[in-house]
Symmetry: C2
Subunit: 414 residues, 2 copies
Amino acid sequence: MLRLSQRGQAMPPSPFRKLTPYAEAAKKAGKRVYHLNIGQPDLETAPELLAAVRGVDFNALTYSYAAGTDSYRRQLVGYYERAGIPAAFEDILVTTAGSEAILFALLTCLNPGDELIVPEPFYGAYTAFAIAAGVTIVTVTAHVETGYALPPLADFERVVTPRTRAVLLCNPSNPTGYVYQPAELTALLDFCKRHDLYFLSDEAYREFCYDGAEATSALSLPGSEEHVIVLDTISKRYNVCGARIGALVTRNPAVWRAAFHFAQMRISPPGLGMLLGEAAAALPPTYFDTTRAEYHARRDFTVRRLQALPGVVCRVPGGAFYVMPQLPIDDAETFCQWLLEDFSHEGATLMLSPARGFYKTLGLGRQQVRLAYVLNLTDLDAALTCLEHALQVYPGRQPALVAANDSLIAAATA
Amino acid sequence: MLRLSQRGQAMPPSPFRKLTPYAEAAKKAGKRVYHLNIGQPDLETAPELLAAVRGVDFNALTYSYAAGTDSYRRQLVGYYERAGIPAAFEDILVTTAGSEAILFALLTCLNPGDELIVPEPFYGAYTAFAIAAGVTIVTVTAHVETGYALPPLADFERVVTPRTRAVLLCNPSNPTGYVYQPAELTALLDFCKRHDLYFLSDEAYREFCYDGAEATSALSLPGSEEHVIVLDTISKRYNVCGARIGALVTRNPAVWRAAFHFAQMRISPPGLGMLLGEAAAALPPTYFDTTRAEYHARRDFTVRRLQALPGVVCRVPGGAFYVMPQLPIDDAETFCQWLLEDFSHEGATLMLSPARGFYKTLGLGRQQVRLAYVLNLTDLDAALTCLEHALQVYPGRQPALVAANDSLIAAATA
């Protein structure tokens, strides 16, 4: 009998799509569904990017060099320089979105059975990439009470084994919105140096920091050259999620070369996407001002509304466009399905991501959801009003298991 | 000390790029270099495809469904139907070029350490994908004397082990140009059924068959549903190598679902490439007439010139745009480097792919090269004239190790 491979069987369906059939049924039944469940913003792609594609003037779309076109890589040097990240032409490998950068980094740095330390909650697709690469994810747990700050270094020390090869961090964090502080990153880099580990830094949301904060790239830390591999993508930065263009950036030439050999395997990254990328890298840093202001307003609005709900625990996240509150409910998966199947307010409901898909440790995140503030303020208002009403009538309502929100707000403003 | 993974160390540089520095040096020295070494045709992309991209009328390039857009998959059903391949909407998974289809098929069907039987010579990148997936390639050898026809089934039976999980065939073949006959494919399918193996069929060159021949898709064989996985790409078909759009097609729902879960990991295939794909799938089958006629003329010209060279062994390949002659030389790698470094004829030379990169068995293909007839007839003429002169003066000239060409031509026309 024909059998699938073990990894083929182990590869889970996307935890973010499990509820899709319920959302579709709700829509068929005439409900309006506000999608706060996925990181697909409602903003437009920067017009300069689409203009670049409309202006295509070549007669043949040929292979490029496996590391990307020279012209795009040169543009990226400028982009990284403006972002305060020291990356030369030869440090940059253009990839098919951030996804491929993650996969190439795992394949390059870890053997099957090797261990990768990731603070949980983490971007759910890391699980899938780890299965594809045969790598074991080992977690240290961040907590809602601290706004999902980096867990204490002692927690990392506790899970290191002879099989540990790397640490993976998403900064600013998807799914929590936490922006890691320079001191946290420096401490983590020291930890990596002490244990001979690679430091994989997923920086997809670099520009989206609020309250005047700035995201620190792991690659800009002194002494990071050998250890750090930045995993990057233009998807969120310019609202071109469908372009599938990213980059793997490292100042470790041996890592670059091995990753490049994986890149040669698939010959070249998407050619039209690189045209978008070139136009994007030519945009001035002020391009981000409008988008950042928009997300800033959405974050403030969302968090204010969430913190006003009885029993909801939510610290103010500093970046990305996600927030991961704790809700006074029995089980987030049940609740999110109930929202779609059994609830509506004025003909509408909302879709959220249950946090379970962001944790490896069973049982964690049971009361948490990820909310992506990717809709405009009017829709966000309507969606959060739905949530407010839903929490009043949800049959599985339960007190939150952690400290009340007030104390957190007090702590945050202290 | 930081170390690369074993697979990172094992991943070879592309065997097709090893000579690139010599080609660059030759050009810098003022030589014209005819590139017959890579499958990048000099033809234009079908204008309808580029028009589709220039006409982009949306404001945001968003994620698509992981299996590709519904509209493109619907178009592909029509394309496959016209190609005589039974593939329903739900059998089609749009991939990031044929490369990703190969990777997903290996990850889905084989465990690390499992064995994949591939007739050699084979497309060199298969080696890289096998390393990435931790799969062992086991070869059966095809021979220049038979035009690289399928090796006898007895050879396949001899290498089957309990770890064998699949057979991989490229039809029409890159690098040999051989078009597998229906009887060969049926026998191979029977073999796969007997041993519970998947039949992975790379059909990138489907439309490029000459002398009125047609390529038989493995998926069109009766009883192939459970076993066959077609690996496909639009790269060569419409001269859009840079689009990075392909497909994995299977009528085995369990395989499709597992491959789909790998696809969900990277969220979606390239959006702009799918626009090209849609425009391509809407082209009538007559679109291929011009391209096919052009390659047919190039093949005839190339093979005639090669067969006229003393000591060169070359049967007439039925498809793709490659030919893999045996040359009267000591070593193809040395010869190809010599062509770039030490030879020129009227200020020009040519670049070929030494066959070693297409073999797993050490020592095979030592006198063979792959020649891609991707240049126009004028350039081909000049390139083959270079080759003719080069073979007269090459210091490592040696008699061919196999039967003289005359007997092959006689056999072929008998």
